[in-house]
Each structure stands twice: as C-alpha cells, then as structure tokens.
Symmetry: C2
Subunit: 250 residues, 2 copies
C-alpha cells in the first residue's frame, strides 16, 4: 500500500497486541528512515530502543505514566545528537563548535524529520504508533534513565507495536486554514468561525466541554490541557535541560 | 510504489524540469500530510506557498541565493504556528498561554513532522525536493518577506518540482552507529573509526579535503561548513527572531 493510502486512514494507536516486533523489522525500518535528508549528511540524531520491562518501568514516570510506555513492545526515544559528530571531530584534529542553541535546532530538526519518516514507514508496514509529546516536558528524567551524555537531548518518543484497537479517525482542519498563498494572511473572526466549526460541533468535543463545565472548546486547551502556567514552568525545565546537556554554551 | 521502496533510492533534488506542479496535486499532498499526528490535534503549523517569480526573488537572499529557490516551480515555507490557535482562543473567551519557549518547541515539532510526511508523500508521487537548512539562519528576513505575524516562526523550507537530475545516492552511517539498545552507549575512538570509515574513504570526500588544504574531513565541517563562529552568531539571530515573534515572553 502506498503512503498516500496509509495516510488517509492512519490514527495513533495506544493498544498493542502480544505479537512481537522483530528486531529484523525494526532495524530495517530504522535503516530505511536514515535515508531522510540530514544537515551536511551528518545524521544529527540517535535512537534509544527500549524493550526491557525494567527500562519501560523506569521511563514511564517521565511520560506521566501513560499506559502505552509499559504496554508497547518497543519504545523509541529519538534524540538530537551532536555528540557522535563532536567526538568524531575531536578524534580528527577538528574543533567542534556545536554546543550552542543553533546546533540544537539543527540536530532537533534532523531528529524530528527522521522520526517522521520512521513513523510513516512503520505505519506502512502495519505497525501502530503513538507519539508521546511528554518527551519535552520532563527531559531531565529521560536523560537520567537513558544515560544520555552531553550534546544529546531527547526530542521525541514513539511507542510501537502491532495494533490492538482501531479508534475513530480524528478530525482535521480544512487545508485552506493552514495554507497561505504567497504571503501569510492573518485570521479574521469569520475565518476562525469557518475553520473551527466542524471541530466545535463534534459530539465528543461538545460532551468534553460539558463535563468539564466550560463554555467553549478552546477553554479546554487553555484552562486544562495546555495552560499558561504549565507552559511557562515547562519552558524553564526544558531550557535547564538544554543547558545541562551543553547546548547553551556558545 | 511503497515508501519503503522510495526511501531506498531517494536523494535531494536541486534541478527541476519545466513541468508544472499542479495546484490540485499540491493541495492533495498537503491535505494528506495533515493527517500526521499533532499536539492535541491543534495542527500547530502553517505553510506559505511561493509560486510567483517576484516572491521567489525576494526569498532567495534569505537562502544565500541557492539557485533552487528561483528555479523550483514551488517553494514551501513551513512555520511553527501558534497564531491561528491563539486567535481561536481569543475569539472563544479563552486566554492562550502560548507565547513561551515550550510552545515554540511544541509547534516546531508539529511543523517538522508535517514537513516530513509531506516530503515522503511528494517523493512517492515522483516529485523532487530539496530541504533548505538555511531557513533557521535568517528567519528575520523570511518573516519580513512572507509577512509572518507574531507566534509564527519559519522552521523549514522545501523547494519542490519534477526532477531534472539524478544525483548519486549519498552515503549514510551504519544503523548501529545511531541506534542504542536500552541505554546510550558512548562512542569510543574505535567506534568512531569504524562508523566513519566509509565516509572518510569516499573519493569525493578525499578530494574535498585535498582541494581545501585540510587534514581531515571533519575539519571541512568545523572550519568551513559549520563553524563555531557562525553557529554562535546564528544562535543569537535565531533567538532574536524567536523573541520578535513573541515566543520568549513567558
């Protein structure tokens, strides 16, 4: 099946069957994903594969104990990695200048592009995945558990297994809401009404607003899911971890 | 053809034929790419499509005048975007708290994952792409040309067209060099020798070292392509642009 067909029906999968994800399949997907474009062909990423029960148990709290971490046969932590490249430089009489913010952005970009090619390949192979956004909330904990050295920063986590559920497809905004021709055209109140109508009218979203005693769906995001207070605290946490990993020196 | 087959032979394409990239194809790929996982299903990205000669001309300097920008029929600038979501919140009696660093990381992640699904879909459809890493070097210029408002930050650019070249496949590190089992295993000098051998032995790389009067390939990166001095200066530039776009307030 083509990726175009896969994308039309893909959904995040949070429940996995007992079927093993073979090391052979995993390695072949990781290898194919590594053909993704990368800065200067340096491949500024690394992947830590978690299969052991013990390590899943230790990783789970860093992901707010979301059950997928313990239940998935494989957990992948994808890291922005300038360590391997910098070690190479030092071994080759070259002075690596990659302990700065731009280098983190470069490596994080490489890592996320790689992550998404891997996701597409894995879903094409029939695997089910869940992307854990929590990776950037408690990086220090992940760094500790996975023993990540200087110039290695976790940026994404995927739980991987064979699907044992088929949840409903989630909604998406109409394409015209996020595509701009030639210049960015700012959003009018009328645009907002039109683009968010479908999302706001979905029965499950209306239900969610009701049981949380909110007035609007947007308040679910600002007051409960992604609050200013949390975002500001987590910004500090993330910057502290970046500093700890040596990416804010230059 | 499956994505797995596509990945085995993909390469970045910098020369494009005169054949048009139809708006219909472009829209269908953007729509399919929007099924990529996204934080809270908020789709924290936007895409500015550049087709006009005039706008390509204005964008080109922000990308160090790399010829692909002027030559490609389509240039896509993908942005981390919390503006649409924040405008929605304000229109719905909700107080958006997304003017902080973590929110930029969240939106940039969304944008890069979307970018890479789009890339995979486009390459599967036979299009040729080049990812311009220069986007994060001169964001202020891109912001000005594309009229990007507050809480919109460019993170990736793709030049898109039908291929008019078939460059050699570039090398990649062996999969064991970037995959770690259970814990990060730091690199020994022996590991480095083994993993970088192929790259260092490639005739074009040896030639490159020679004509630049360098001792090692790594010095090409540290002394010429990605120097400490440039990285440090560009770190400041990038952080200034992030501040200008309102992502460092909280």
């Amino acid at each position: 099946m083509s990726l175009l067909e896969v994308m039309k029906t893909r959904r995040s999968i949070r429940k996995y069957s007992d079927k093993e994800v073979s090391e052979e399949l995993l390695q072949s997907l990781l290898q194919a994903a590594a053909r993704t474009q990368t800065m200067g062909n340096l491949q500024l990423y690394s992947v830590v594969v978690t299969r052991s029960e013990d390590m899943k148990e230790r990783l789970a709290p860093a992901h707010f104990n979301q059950p997928m971490v313990r239940q998935a046969p494989v957990v992948l932590t994808i890291c922005a990695d300038f360590r391997r490249t910098s070690t190479w430089c030092k071994e080759r009489k070259a002075d690596p200048g990659y302990d700065n913010f731009l280098s983190f952005i470069n490596a994080a970009s490489d890592a996320l592009l790689f992550t998404q090619t891997f996701s597409s390949l894995a879903e094409e192979a029939g695997l089910g995945l869940c992307y854990l956004g929590t990776t950037v909330y408690m990086p220090a904990k992940i760094i500790e558990v996975l023993n990540l050295p200087r110039l290695v920063m976790p940026v994404a986590t995927l739980t991987v297994g064979w699907p044992d559920e088929q949840p409903a497809l989630s909604d998406r905004l109409p394409v015209e809401s996020f595509v701009h021709s030639e210049k960015y055209r700012d959003y009018t109140p009328l645009d907002i009404d039109r683009y968010y109508l479908e999302k706001e009218q979905l029965p499950q979203n209306k239900h969610f607003v009701e049981i949380n005693h909110k007035e609007t769906l947007a308040q679910i995001f600002t007051d409960i899911r992604y609050t200013r207070r949390d975002n500001e605290a987590l910004s500090t946490t993330f910057l502290d971890a970046l500093r700890q990993q040596g990416f804010l020196e230059g």
